[in-house]
Every structure is written in C-alpha cells, then in structure tokens.
C-alpha cells in the first residue's frame, strides 16, 4: 500500500496519529499477521543463533552497526546455467557494469572470479514474504542452490505436495525430478522450464546477456564500502545498487556482501522484486551456507530419485 499516505497534515500530532492509525489498520486487516509475525521472529532468532553473528554485550558495549536494509546471509553463482545460475551472476555483474570507479571495478572483478572458481558452493534461498502454502506452487522460499565450478547447478525446492523438486544441470544435460521420478531431461539447459521463470521477477533472470546489458544501464551503485552483514561479523565488501526508474523490470535494490580476501559473495539480496503473477514485492536472499565438496554425481539425477540413498536434499554438513 505505497499510496496510503501521500500528504501529511500540518500538525505533528496529527501526522503521528494519521500514521499510527494507518499502522493499526494494516495490522487489523492483515489476515496473515500471525503467520508473518512468526516468520519475523523465527528469522530473527535464527540469525541470533548463528555462531559468532550476534553476541550480547554485557554493559555499555556499543552495538553500532550501520542500519540498513536486509539481513540475512549471502549468495553465489554460475554463469552458463540459464535461470538459477544466471541469477547469481547477474547480481555480481550488475555492479561490475554500473560502478565506474576503478577500485570498485577491480574488486567486483574479484567477485566474478570467485564465482567462476572451481569448487562447490551451496546457497540457501529465502523469500519474504513467501507464497502462501495454499497456492500449492513450488516456490523458491527455503530452496537451496548448489553450484559447481561455472557449469553445474542443482536447485532443490520444497514441494507443497510433499518432498522436494530437483532441477539440475550437470554441464551436459538439464533435468527435473518431481515426486521422486525423473520428470524430464534435456540436452543443454531448460528441462522442466526450470520453473524459475514462473517465479522470478519478470524477465530479469531468464536471459543473461540482455539482462546484463539492461542492468548496466538501469542500475546505479549507491554504496561500495566495507560493511558487515546486518547480523554482524567481520567487514565484507559491500555493494548496494538501486534501480534507476520504475520503468525498469527487476528488483528495486540489489545488495551484495563478499569476502574481502576471496571475493566470494556471502550474500546477495534482490529487494522489492515482483514475481510473475503477483503484485506483492518480495525479497530474495541468497545466503552462502557451505563450500564443502559435494559427491561427484551430485549434479546428476541419480542421487535424487526416490529410493536412492542420496534422495535426501543434501549430504549432511
């Protein structure tokens, strides 16, 4: 409801009462208030329980941390894979293409290099607010995205009907497993439509090259500095870019935190992104949760079909 309060009463008390009652009305009419409250609390407590993230200070220790947007963890990527992998790189490339000062470009080049470096990475995806379960769609909230080198990916999503849906690409063929069965395989990318085009904002992530060109002209770097994750921790390379106008399709704000030494993105946030079929802006957060080596065949269908030992969402970490 961005069009709620476009003008203010002249009197300060009236302004306050206007905004105060507005907030009460929003709460009173929010049928999912309880659900959202629980999500907010759980999300906050989850962050607080992360080791080393937030430690209470006994007395007057200042908790000074720049106030700002999002709060959660990091992100990742893969270049050649169509949607899922594209998402990761898109965010990083945005900054390389839009920020002109040389130090920033050099640093962002490191980030891109890190994303393409051989190795395995796993990212957890959070969508806020998530799709209501009643819609029965396979969404992205609580999904994980596993990436290998610059050429393989595995997206694991919760299936509202039970179990998981797997979308993968092993560098040769893409595939989908749904209901424990291989639903589709395809040489190259695109098996199952990958589903991401159903849920990702408009066309931003579905076609890498035009997207990058578009972002290069349509986003502005607002911050490039060292900053910890909102939950705390050591300083990270931090980039915040905002959409230049409402005419641009894609999230309003994109924010990246990356390791200062390796350049590996720890978190990427797509903020105020609109999904296809929904007018409600969402925030997608990609958090780096692991760089452990995954099994050799992890990006093929075999470990994920029903009855196979590896059918669980991921190896124990």
């Amino acid at each position: 409801m961005a069009d709620d309060i476009d003008s203010n009463p002249p009197d300060i008390q009236q302004q306050a009462d206007d905004r105060f009652v507005h907030a009460l009305l929003l709460h009173m009419h929010d049928e999912r208030a309880l659900q959202y409250r629980e999500q907010r609390v759980e999300r906050a407590m989850l962050a607080l329980r992360e080791p080393g993230i937030a430690t209470p200070r006994g007395d007057n220790g200042s908790a000074a941390r720049p106030a700002g947007r999002s709060l959660q963890i990091p992100a990742w990527a893969r270049r050649t894979a169509w949607a899922a992998a594209a998402m990761v790189l898109v965010a990083a490339c945005i900054f390389a293409m839009t920020y002109s000062p040389a130090p920033a470009l050099a640093s962002l080049s490191d980030i891109l290099g890190a994303l393409n470096r051989p190795g395995d990475r796993a990212y957890r995806i959070t969508v806020q607010p998530p799709d209501p379960p009643s819609q029965g769609k396979v969404g992205l909230d609580r999904a994980t995205l596993d990436l290998r080198d610059g050429s393989q990916y595995l997206l694991i999503r919760l299936d509202p009907k039970g179990g998981f849906q797997f979308d993968g690409y092993d560098g040769r063929q893409s595939w989908r497993i749904s209901g424990g069965q291989v639903a589709e395989t395809k040489e190259g990318l695109g098996a199952g439509g990958l589903g991401l085009t159903e849920t990702m904002p408009d066309t931003l992530f579905s076609d890498l090259e035009p997207t990058l060109k578009q972002i290069g002209t349509d986003y502005t770097i607002e911050r490039f500095d060292l900053a910890p994750l909102p939950a705390g921790g050591p300083p990270l390379r931090h980039v915040l870019a905002s959409r230049k106008s409402r005419d641009v399709k894609g999230p309003v704000v994109i924010e990246i935190w990356a390791d200062t030494k390796t350049g590996m993105p720890r978190r990427i946030v797509f903020d105020q992104a609109k999904f296809q079929g929904s007018t409600l802006p969402r925030r997608l957060t990609f958090d780096l949760v692991s760089e452990d080596v995954m099994p050799a065949d992890w990006f093929t269908p075999a470990p994920h079909t029903a009855g196979k030992i590896g059918a669980s969402p991921r190896p124990a970490r």
Binding site: D4, Q15, R19, F20, A47, T55, A67
Partner: protein, 192 residues
C-alpha cells in the same frame, strides 16, 4: 503478559532459563506492536521486515544496557526509531514526515496501547473496530476497501467516480476520526 511487560531476564524458577529463549519470549510478545510501529514509520514492507530483524539483533547485542524498570516494548521501539531514521539517511529517501518528533509521538501512542487490558496486541485495539463502524459511510467505505480488501486508492477513485487525491484525503480524514474515536474511548490519551 502485557505487551509492555518488562519481564525478567534471569527467570524466577529454580531451573535457569536460557537467556536467548527468554529473549525470544519477550520478542514474540512485543512483535506485533513493534511491527505496527515500524509500519507507521516506513511504508515499504520489505524495509519493515529488515528493520524488525535489525532491531532484534541490536536488542540482543545490547541486552546488557536494557533497564528492566522500563517496558521491554518501549526499549525495542527506541532501537527501532533510530533504525528508521538511519534507514532514510542510508537510502537517501525523503523522510515522509516532517519531524523526528512524529516518531516519538507514535511511540507514545504505542505505549498507551500497551497499557490497555488484553493479552494480545489485537485485543488491545479491538476498540478500533467499533470506531470504524461508527464512521460515516463516505469515510468507512474507503477504509474497508483500502485496508480490508487491499484496493488501491486509484481503484477506489475509479469506482467512486472521483480522483485519487480525493480518496487519499478521505482516507486521511477517516484515520484522524478514528484516532479521535480512540481518544473518546480512552484507548488513547487526549491531545490538546
């Protein structure tokens, strides 16, 4: 427990309570009022979620500074207030109200709500429903359409054969009438 209840961070039972678990209880009890406070200060829902979590993180870090004599909800709002102002500074967006005092005043309103009887935030603001019912139709209908059915002011204006600006003004007058109604019902303190 009252929303503004300070609670105890040490626990009174013989079995020690994990501080973080107790913190979670206090957070949960004050989550609705904190969210309402953030919504009053920030219109972007994503920013509300962010600021909520940041408030929690800072509160936990600074829990040693918390004065147990003060209501916990008020303490959280104090943190949230600073984060709201920092949010606007950081994003270079224009603060949508004329003075920081507006937030202080809203904080006072939230404290008044917190002192009302009721176990939950919803129970404390039940009087608002009656106030809505008492609005004249020309004010009640846009409120019900906009907040109850999530219709945009543009949509309401088209249906009413009027302008969006007129609907926004009508909504604003309706909200101020609701505030006055809550004052008459002694839910809120009267203003000069």
């Amino acid at each position: 427990m009252d929303d503004e209840d300070a609670g105890s961070l040490t626990g009174q039972s013989s079995r020690p309570i994990e501080p973080l678990a107790l913190f979670e209880v206090l957070v949960r009890e004050n989550a609705d009022s904190l969210t309402a406070f953030l919504r009053a200060g920030v219109e972007d829902q994503a920013a509300v979620d962010d600021l909520f979590q940041e408030t929690m993180l800072i509160a936990w870090r600074k829990i040693g500074e918390y004065d147990r004599v003060r209501p916990f909800g008020a303490w959280l709002r104090g943190i949230a207030r600073n984060l709201i102002l920092a949010h606007y500074r950081k994003s270079a967006r224009e603060i949508p109200f004329s003075s920081d005092q507006v937030l202080d005043y809203i904080d006072g309103r939230m404290a008044q709500i917190g002192r009302k009887s009721g176990d939950t935030f919803d129970e404390k603001i039940t009087a608002l429903r009656d106030c809505i019912e008492r609005l004249e139709p020309m004010y009640r209908e846009p409120i019900e359409l906009h907040y109850g059915q999530q219709k945009t002011t543009e949509w309401i204006a088209q249906q009413s054969a009027t302008t969006r600006d007129a609907i926004q003004k009508r909504l604003q007058r309706a909200r101020l009438q609701l505030a006055q109604c809550l004052q008459r019902k002694a839910v809120l303190a009267r203003t000069g």
